[in-house]
Amino acid sequence: MSRALLVVLALLLAACGSAPRRDLDYDRLHASLDALAADPELARLALAERALAEAAVRRLDASSINANEHVQLSYLAERRVDIAYIAAQTERERARLEALQREHASLLLDASRRETAAMRAELDRQRQRELLRQEDAQRGALISPPASVTAGPAVAVPPPSTAPAPSPPPAATIAPLTSAPVASASDADAERTSVPAPGAVAPTPAVTGATVAPAESGASTLAQRLAALVPEYGADGRQMTLEDLVFEPGTATFAAEAPIGIARVAAWLAAEPTLGVRIAGHTDATGSPEANRNLSLRRAEAVRDALVERGVAPSRIAVTGEGAAVPVASNDDAAGRARNRRVVVRLGGGA
């Protein structure tokens, strides 16, 4: 009996000795560290802080003898585990910040490139405008006629009394429409002097000197040239030609000075209220034929609309867009191209 009791006691003692020690704090912190080590985002980060936390948890594991020490080590280990987590999260955020900073630099570079491209485009536009101005100046120099040609005496169609003067342009001298080379029956000599016969050698409208009459200087302004606009004889009869600078480059929008020339044309047409009017737009040969036809037609229509606003009956007017099909000069140089860009208003056609 006593032997059996001893065996039972021995078994109980053995059972107590081999039972696993349960330290809930240790288990919880250890599991927390295991979770950190298994986290796919955080496992490789803040390794030093994690090592400190693991060391603190190990000390906790060895501190089961002294209860006060256990509490202290548990307190420290818990905060070291927190620090390990927070440090890992901080490193992850830092990596994210670095990626954002790289992206920011890339975005700034893109913005800088866009700004540079916009500036370049603006410079190109300014250069284009300057080129057009230079072409205008060159053309003005080329088509400046001798004073003797423009000052033809006693040409009188239409009479001054029937041609209401347009509003005077600033600093521009308005030539009377009577200075046009459209001769009256009583002045045939003058007609021969200023108006070439159809088929003559040099009758291109811009070169006859009839369209533009700056007289004093080839470098006259657009306003001055438009104020001096007079009728001329073209291959199809009497006509007035509006140069390309009446429009903004590449558009059918009138330039600021355009009303001066439009008023001159309207006054001329008012003197011949029974005749039809044919308005033809022309361009140079730059660009596609389709685009040129469209632009020339839109410019002709813009002139028609402006004339209608000034009292010309729309039923008199027919418009066409010729594109580059009817050049009056070579398209190989700027001056020639500038002369080819024009809108011609002819009397005797019509709708």
Partner: protein
Amino acid sequence: MAANAMALAEEVGAATYAPLELRYAAEQLDQALQVQESGDTAQARRLLEQSLVNSDLAVAKSRLGRTREAVQVQAAANARLRSDGAAPADTP
């Protein structure tokens, strides 16, 4: 050492990002000094250790808070730049 850790925590902005931990660290440091004067060096050591770990925790939290704020600011700046880039360019 615990005092240095607390000074570092204050330097990195723990008053804003980890005020509780900073307060614990300060209180534990004060208590440690008092207990040490009374001669209980073991308790003083324990309090200093607690103050140190709380200061370290305050530093860690402060760094995380500041980094997260920087991430937010940077993300907003990038979003602005992206929206500026997506806006249609001025037509000539």
